[in-house]
């Protein structure tokens, strides 16, 4: 039925002089989301973006993909026709028949928008004319201009677009409209959700993954890569960094108390993350921390961990319950991958009784036994883009 999809952007962020660049970014985002589809063309016409494909069968798949692109507000599957009044009405009737088979329609209205003022018939007149023809074709329906079951939109621009269905999207702001940040991505449930939530507000994200190979499996890498790919459906291309933290863990194990391991290791992670962010023009860090969920996520732990860096940290799931985070992960499609067994042996380094109320003074004393700069340089040398 449909041969084109009309995409409307949110208005708030499209006002002012940035409009052009945001529109451009969104168009790029759409293009990226549709990279696996052939013969797709994307073009602008009077304030809207249209996606056209030569393969009508791809339409549902295309709609599902662009539903996930942040910054799109409404998607209208449409029929693109020539600006010939007779053809327009014929197609409008065809669309009406198609919709009537899908749902019970008793009332309708036609709404014409004439962006092209050279079109010979005025909007109101054309709506009336099309409405009449539809009434003739379907004697069991009536017009209701106030509360119709469906509304047939006839949008006359350079071409004419007929539509009725409106598909809502995930919303958000276009990626890149709100800066760049580095997500600390583990293989778990929380961090992909955190990345999704910040990206939704228009932030372009990169991701960082810490491992301790050969104490962790290469399969864990694959899992993080897979999570990154799922997030990319929403966020566009994500650069994924990995760092091997083994030497840090070895040093902590050798020189510090077991129960301090997690806090100390996380202070190192933050420093390394900050360094990667600074070197790559990323303005903030993002973590999947949820208050009180584990020992390192108590308020006191966070104070001690964050004391190690200056860069602000975004924690979008901080106030969410585990079950809420899980629901969100299911909704965005990362859950099933996150719960895959990890084959993770970092339990070698995980203390059996981690501190939940660490004191900054004593952590700093412990850390004083380590050569922090040297260790950071050492593990930084394992940095890879995967």
């Amino acid at each position: 039925m449909y041969n084109v999809v009309a995409v409307s952007f949110g208005e708030i962020f499209l006002k002012g002089k940035n409009r052009g660049s945001f529109e451009h970014k969104l168009t790029e985002q759409i293009r990226y989301a549709l990279k696996e589809y052939k013969d797709v063309s994307i073009y602008k016409e009077l304030g809207k973006v249209f996606i056209q494909t030569k393969h009508i069968d791809d339409m549902d798949g295309i709609i599902n993909k662009i539903k996930k692109v942040f910054g799109i507000v409404v998607i209208s599957p449409s029929i693109k026709v020539e600006k010939d009044p007779e053809i327009i009405i014929e197609k409008a009737i065809e669309l009406f028949r198609y919709l009537k088979e899908k749902q019970n329609i008793k009332t309708f209205k036609v709404n014409t928008k004439r962006g092209d003022k050279t079109f010979p018939v005025k909007s109101m007149d054309f709506s009336a004319l099309a409405g009449e023809k539809i009434l003739n074709a379907f004697p069991d329906v009536t017009v209701d201009v106030h509360n119709p079951d469906i509304e047939v939109m006839i949008d006359i621009k350079k071409n004419c677009y007929i539509s009725s269905e409106r598909i809502t999207t995930v919303g958000g702001m276009p990626i890149g409209s709100c800066g760049k940040a580095l997500l600390l991505l583990s293989g778990g449930i929380d961090s992909p959700v955190a990345g999704y939530m910040i990206a939704k507000r228009g932030v372009e994200i990169s991701a960082l993954y810490f491992h301790t190979y050969p104490f962790t499996s290469e399969r864990a890498n694959e899992k993080v890569k897979r999570l990154k790919e799922i997030l990319e459906e929403y966020c566009g291309k994500i650069k994924l960094y990995s760092v091997n933290l083994l030497d840090v863990h070895k040093a902590i194990k050798e020189h510090c108390r077991e129960e301090e391991t997690t806090i100390l290791a996380r202070r190192f992670m933050m420093r390394i993350a900050e360094r990667i962010a600074e070197e790559n023009g990323l303005e903030m860090l993002i973590t999947g921390e949820s208050l009180g969920q584990v020992a390192s996520q108590t308020m006191k732990s966070m104070i001690v961990i964050e004391n190690s860096i200056e860069m602000p940290i975004l924690k979008p799931v901080i106030g969410m319950d585990k079950t809420e985070i899980m629901d969100k992960a299911k909704e965005i499609g990362t859950y099933e991958t996150s719960i895959l067994p990890y084959d993770d042996c970092c339990s070698v380094f995980a203390p059996s009784h981690p501190l939940i109320n660490p004191k900054l003074d004593s952590i700093l004393i412990s850390e004083g036994r380590l050569n922090v700069e040297e260790l950071i340089n050492k593990v930084y040398s394992t940095l890879e883009v995967i």
Binding site: P214, F215, E218, C345, S347
Partner: protein, 382 residues
């Protein structure tokens, strides 16, 4: 250097087998059920493979059925035997069976009682206990020939004789996936009813297995179709796979003694050298005739097997581990059933040998295991 020591998981296909697979796909691609000559040629090739597969256990060729693999063979046999299950009947098996037996039997736990025969610290079936557990209501005795993780060889002849002497109508199934082609089996001296085996453990292709069914017995099929393999395993035959399997059997049969000798020697050498070079080592496999020639399970105190696997993969050495991190709940059913000290159980790896292994690899492997174990211990002890 690449040293593949995970032959109990699967093996590399031998060159001659690969040639056969290509040849079949090029020249004998007909459906064996087709009436024309192309079909007949394929059928003849399959019959030839069946003769080779039968020879390995000295069976009659019509007693061999080709299946989709070891798991499928175990399932077909067990589900058929258990079709006669009744209230108050029982099944006798062990706790160290492969999942393709253990989990099938487990499906019947509400319909019959499952009796697990005791095994000793090395995994040997306690024959006195077996005698006690088999009675007039025992429908099935299913015991594996060689355990895949530690390589203990059960005396299936004695086991079958004891079971039959207690109840002649009891069906006896043996999972021989790990022993087929590795240990001499003369099926005529062992009163078992069915025996399962697999192609990819003996350098044949994956996706093919075999089931021996005593000629006096009729299998009740669990999959229905066009009647291939006398309806025991219907579906168009995996001609290339079967013929590749046949070729692997032929190669094995022709060199059985030498190959067996080589594997035993290599296994003993690894056990000796590793014990000499590394402290606090526990050999979990038996080095005499009670241990399979190709499986060496070995534990290192204060090491995690899984970490050792990853250390060794960096050197091109591939071994496996049955035990996982102790922090995760997935403990190892097989190793738990054996009396292995807690300090050792996490640090066990399985080295399993095959045709492509040789003496030249031993020192390289020993050196890297030694170094890796030292490195891991050092980190664990920090």
């Amino acid at each position: 250097m690449e040293v593949y020591l995970d032959n109990s998981a699967t093996t590399r296909v031998r060159h001659e087998v690969l040639q056969q697979i290509i040849d079949v796909n090029k020249n004998y691609y007909g459906n064996p059920s087709s009436l024309h000559r192309m079909g007949l040629m394929a059928e003849k090739k399959i019959d030839e493979a069946r003769r080779y597969a039968a020879k390995i256990i000295n069976a009659k060729y019509e007693e061999i059925y080709f299946t989709g693999g070891g798991t499928e063979s175990n399932n077909i046999a067990l589900i058929s035997h258990l079709s006669n299950i009744y209230e108050n009947s029982n099944i006798v098996t062990t706790k160290i069976e492969h999942p393709s037996v253990y989990n099938v039997v487990d499906q019947f736990k509400d319909k019959a009682s499952i009796r697990y025969v005791e095994t000793d610290g090395m995994g040997r079936v306690n024959l006195d206990d077996l005698k006690k557990k088999v009675d007039s209501d025992t429908v099935l005795v299913s015991i594996m020939h060689v355990n895949n993780e530690i390589g203990i060889v059960q005396d299936i002849k004695k086991i079958a004789e004891i079971a039959k002497s207690k109840n002649n109508s009891t069906k006896i199934h043996v999972d021989a996936v790990q022993s087929y082609g590795k240990i001499k089996i003369d099926i005529n001296n062992i009163p078992v009813d069915t025996m399962a085996f697999s192609s990819h453990k003996i350098h044949g292709p994956k996706g093919v297995g075999g089931l021996f069914v005593r000629s006096s017995l009729k299998i009740k099929p669990s999959v229905f179709g066009g009647g291939q393999e006398k309806s025991v395993r219907p579906g168009t035959e995996n001609t290339a796979g079967i013929i590749g399997f046949g070729e692997a059997c032929k190669l094995l049969y022709d060199n059985f003694e030498e190959e067996n000798y080589k594997l035993n020697e290599l296994k003993a050498l690894y056990a000796k050298r590793l014990s000499e070079e590394i402290e606090d080592v526990r050999i979990n496999s038996l080095l005499n005739g009670e241990g399979a020639p190709h499986i060496l399970n070995i534990s290192f105190k204060n090491v995690k097997g899984e970490v050792l696997v990853h250390f060794l993969e960096q050197k091109g050495i591939y071994v496996s581990t049955g035990s996982a991190c102790s922090s995760k709940s997935k403990s190892n059913r097989i190793l738990d059933a054996l009396n292995i000290d807690k300090e050792y159980i996490d640090g066990s790896i399985r080295m399993s040998l095959g045709y492509f292994n040789n003496h030249d690899e031993v020192e390289y492997v020993v050196m890297h295991i030694k170094q890796s174990v030292n490195d891991i211990r050092e980190i664990m002890m920090l």
